[in-house]
Symmetry: D3
């Protein structure tokens, strides 16, 4: 287990531990007779920090790559109002020296508990073809490994390892509640759609060293990639009813809800419209929660202007601020 | 209790009962020497039917008004592929002769059960000012009478008597489920907002003889009307915290979510974004459900083109059609 | 070969021949003692005409279905400014009595010549995997039969039998011209994309008795359907290069160019942007040509207001009108 | 009266006077052995200037806050093409040492003259309830004090102290002219709406130390805040006619004209459409005037690209530039 | 002077007078042995009415054309709730028999008074080139004749003969008021732009028999047509300053304000933004006034749904309705 | 002929040659006792490079202007990862010392060959008035000189000297291909429109020292400027048919296709819709080509985010990248 996290480093402290190299660049000293130094951005699951290697930088720079994990010894100092690590020693880490989970921001929920919800939901599907289809995915260990680790987005919502699983479990949970309000919705179809709607995201993102789109993710998009995985799954199940297949594929292809959000179809069935709005509800609430949580540490009542939402968000002011974390947890 | 409903009338049957006059017009016979006949549209909670008075039409026409309930005797016949009532006798009904509830389309859920959910939710609010505020509304009998009867919309969703109560209960129910997924949301604030977000709709619509906007509804809109009712309520509760009042009013003013949907604000707090998306989810699913339910009686796989949604909806085809009603009810 | 076409029928003429029944409805006579008559819409590849059966209508109505071809004897008359066929005899046609090609509006270009262009283009592809892929489609007789007959759209452009082939050949032809202007474009990729971009339309439409969307067409859309056919084709070709597959699929998924036009992707490669704009150019010119051609017969300088284009189109005025047909044909 | 204004400071001059601190930050010297210096932004009603405190900065920094007025002694110098004040002495100012009016950009028009126009307009309203309503606002000294000082916007138009009063007077003036062109408009209603449409702006902005939105302004918006003030005013006037109240509130709620501009209603009466367009005319002309005036000092024919208007504005070129100021003043 | 106007015709009255033929169509009698009758739409400046010629219709139909003025003798009767003229005699009118002004809806303001305002405005322009330019138009009798008669639009605003002059005078009047509020605006430039901005409308519409677009109007649009007239005018004035010409043309080309309203430019100068907003203000107020005035005769508080404005307009209710006409006229 | 181009300069090399001064600014040394140095941006047709004059900068700075060509002697060095020219000598160049063509980015195609295509196209127009009109432009040497040199845009496509000619020739070429597919299009009209649609661009841009809009370009726009040049040309040709003139002007005024793209008209004829889509096809393919070509030198598979296209473009990955340049040139 990692002992020092980026979030906790303070000026004056000694540093000794493993970090992921997000950025690496040689720069000349202002006094050029001194040659070059090395500027790094070191990261772990809690954030990023600037670092400098003053001595022997060109040689050291050749021993590791951006995107690799390194072991670092040094000290934190403050310069021009910013904290940075002055690196004394640095070397590539062996794979068994650190826990990869320490390197990336990840879901705070328990992965096994979430997988249990998924499996229980699969088992609760009564229509045999739909259950068989869902089982093909969630009984495939390799798929489950990917699915448990993938983020749900690059930036907007659930943009951390395990985010896809977390989002899926939340959508499934909300769908179950909706089914109680609207018994007219086809239960098995909605739950199967909820479980499978984003399976293409396992391949949409590359998340070895940073969360970004894969080529396939950019050129095809997860909506079509999910549809392909599901269609291949359907083809492998004998006598899967045509109408059911059509309705399920339609749910996946229309779950973004609007053309302008990259949806090749718009919802035309009760289950498709339900999935779209539940999915969007979960994504938007997560998005606001993340933005507000990030701000709370700064203690300002308003967040900075969010250029995508085109607004400031409000967290509350001074002693009047709602102690929502505590209250919430008391639930 | 009414014995004959419009939905059940068939050619050849005798008609004897009470109906609401939606439309009334004198027209000349083609052979003008015969004078004028009377064309009516008769309605009850199950639908509308055309009717004609051939004899003594001008005199009879003066005995009742459009928007009134009348007692009718006559017979159903088919003409040019359409069914119509040939009226033999017609007279205005006394108020105690019929049950107004039979005249309008209304929620199919149990009003008392729904009110019980509302009251239980009010009692479950822990923050005393918010609970007092909600109680001011739902312990006021006159308000509750209006609230239980009002529709939630003129056309799009929950557009029937009791629709406002039904919509509110559904939103509250879904919010409770969301609170389990996101304990960071302020429970009391979200539930109070869910209960009160549409209270202005009690005055936005006129629904004596048909569901339509009131003048106030058209010129001010229910968002501002709800805000005013809530603000007046807040003013009546001693020491209502300012920040809480601001946050609650913001939820009401932003619950339509987008400027282009007539929202004077867009959500800027976690509770506001949650309320907007839950409310929209419920409205859209109800809307699709109504359109599809109306179509199912016709047995066609596709609905007619919906000019507001700009698409056809799909209900399913032949024997493959999903028996969702039954399955749903088995829940 | 059909001898009488709807376009040529005139009041006073005798009618004897085969027509497709687009619409069939029994209606009561105004004098109801006379029972019912039958109103039909008869059609062939040149247009539609109203028809009436006055005698023995209920019995005759049971002998054929809407969407079937019938043999009709009767006479054309004018009534209230409209022409209609007074049917004397009518019976279902045997399949070998008429040429189905006479029944539907169809491309005016030579199908075999167009197929020759397609085949020549396939053979001219040098990259072996792309050529093999294109050949899989265009050497499959069953596919070619569908492809030669399918329309390219329901209403907007090339909305007639053979329209898909015609559109494809035009797009291929324009792409070849573009390749001369921009040699930087990857020739084989562009031409393969041009040939295959709309293959899903073979299943998007039902066109047995009228051109309309199939269920699959409505719920999935031809963009995703084309992608699936192409992806399956790629999977069947050994060692198809990944990058090439990705680029080709991207071209198909982005060829509508804009999200709001139902495109799940927007062009991100040179070949994709080229295909999108060539495809759109051909579709729009065909659309304008069809609208203007339909109007020219009426001799008015302006077409009626087109609700989709939201404008009137101008064909030219009086003797000044450009004799474009002739000049064009002189080419 | 302030003697030195930011706009007039030139390199080499001595500085001695009062300025508002817009920004305050301690920064380390590059040679860190020297500790920290203080960077300030000093402002008054004519603009902002950078300032530095080299000596004893950490101690001095604790004697005053951002947003406070200070007395400064020092000298202006030029460094890297930019002018800055080298501060020798600095201390917080007493409230009676300076005139607050010198600290903020403010309307250039005479406040008393503008208030006289407002009062004369109030007195000219003939309908007694409307006159009583307007009088409630403009005979309330506290309200008038706020109203005379508030800006009309944060950035776009009339974004300076007194801007709200100036904007209101201009709208009233233009409305009077419109009433001569369109005598069908209800004079008293239009003028009352013009006077009261933006009263909520007195609380929408905080403008003690900088012009910014208040929490209430951000979460509720001035449209709803104005409506609430007016509705409360109406409630205090006996027998205010319902229809008149409805029309007036509608004017306020719809004066932004379009949903996408945050208007909860769109104009549905003659007076509402008139108010919206007059208000918009005044705001846009003021906006262009301010952008062009700011540019004129630089002598370039084109302004920089305005990211909100998404265009450059044109002021004219060289000797051909229109001497509009002078001509205008000659009026 | 015409004695009978369409607006005043009532069932039972004799008709004798001159009307414009808006529509003319021969139709067969239901009993076809009776041959054909003639359906007409007759119009004058106050409205339209249906008319029928039962006797000798085919022969009479050849004696006049749609778009011509005819003399009619007959009687008004009511049929199926609609009033129609039963024509007994009808013949083409001689040009000297009627006053063309009686045939078309026209401005209710005094044309000579309005022209006096225009001329006075021209004379008040001090910059000699601008005055010379304006004078070229308004001292040209032929142009003034067209300009005084042209409508300002086909449907939306000032859509009647003289509407262009009326609109121009109103824009000029409002501009003068704006110049008092904003002396920074270049007076002569704004007034010249106000006078000339729509001169192309003299050729954009055909208004001999109905107000419709000319071919040129549809294919080029009045913005470009106005620019061409003004540019030709400028070319004819010696030493017209280049910068002034550019600014004036820019005002004309940008006066629609937004690309989506067909404006090839958007305002980039103070005068252009002022002209655009004044012009729009006048057009919108006129539009609302016309819609509401048309409704008032029907006595309903709400107008029908306006499909272009996408809303209902409110005129007021019962005795509470504002007597704006009278009050207005008392001004 | 220039011997050293910016693109080829490398650290350590001597510089001696002619460059255009894009930017010129005096800056103080950090050690202010040393006075000021001069920062320049030097450019030629292949790109830009930073340059510094350390010695005698204030005096030298007065000998030349931004936008002028200078002769420079010095040396390239690398500083902080960026290359810059340390200038030793610098003086204004005489006009006959350098070839202006070396100073600006320019088309890579042969100007004479392109002009030959234009002339051949003009001669191939059969309709005599259209041919005369086109000839007026392309037989006017002064116009041809401008037309051959002008860019087609400031940034988006063909944004280099000769870009207008290149774009025109490409549009003409693609139109000829389209005419083979659609013989119904009026050949002479389409080709004349293609040749003349952008002639106003000769005055829309200033391109002496950098490609930017002229005042006229910004205030009037090339669409209206092209229309004016063409209309003046038409006026000079005797008996030019009215309908032909109208159709040609319509093509020019509508060739941007959509109001939101600054088009005062939208296509309403077959020739106009064809021109718009061919023009857009060429512009977009050129745009993508330029963005991708610029990126290829960096060897990354994806371009940076393009803020106007709002996407990344894909060029291909590693060894799999398509060798399109070579293949293309092999054509």
């Amino acid at each position: 287990m990692k002992e020092q996290f980026v979030r906790d480093l303070r000026p004056g402290e000694r540093v000794l531990g493993f970090f992921l190299v997000h950025h690496k660049q040689l720069e000349p000293f202002r006094d050029r007779t001194r040659g070059e130094f090395l500027t790094l951005v070191l990261a772990d699951c809690t954030g990023e920090i600037l670092a400098r290697v003053w001595e022997d930088a060109p040689a050291l720079a050749e021993t590791f790559e951006q995107g690799q994990v390194v072991k670092v010894a040094g000290e934190v100092e403050e310069y021009m109002g910013r904290w940075q690590v002055i690196v004394e020693k640095i070397r590539p880490a062996e794979t068994d020296e650190y826990d990869p989970a320490d390197m990336f921001p990840a879901t705070e929920r328990d992965v096994d508990e979430m997988l249990a919800v998924v499996r229980e939901t699969v088992e609760g599907i009564e229509e045999p073809h739909l259950r068989a289809l869902a089982a093909r995915f969630f009984e495939d260990e390799e798929f489950v490994a990917c699915f448990s680790r993938a983020p749900a987005a690059r930036r907007i919502h659930h943009a951390y390892l395990g985010g896809l699983l977390e989002h899926t479990v939340e959508v499934v949970t909300l769908c179950k509640s909706l089914l109680e309000v609207y018994p007219q919705i086809h239960r098995d179809l909605l739950l199967t759609g909820a479980l499978l709607h984003d399976v293409g995201k396992t391949a949409e993102f590359a998340y070895e060293t940073d969360i970004d789109y894969s080529d396939e993710g950019r050129l095809l998009g997860h909506v079509v990639m999910s549809d392909r995985l599901v269609t291949n799954g359907i083809a492998a199940i004998p006598e899967f009813p045509d109408d059911l297949a059509l309705r399920l594929r339609h749910m996946i292809l229309s779950h973004h809800g609007r053309y302008e959000w990259g949806s090749p179809r718009r919802p035309q069935t009760l289950e498709a419209v339900a999935l779209h709005h539940v999915e969007n509800l979960d994504a938007q609430v997560n998005r606001f929660h993340r933005i507000l949580a990030a701000r709370r540490e700064t203690d300002k009542p308003w967040t900075d202007y969010d250029t995508l939402l085109r607004r400031h968000l409000y967290a509350g002011r001074g002693e009047e601020e709602l102690s929502v974390e505590e209250e919430g947890q008391a639930e």
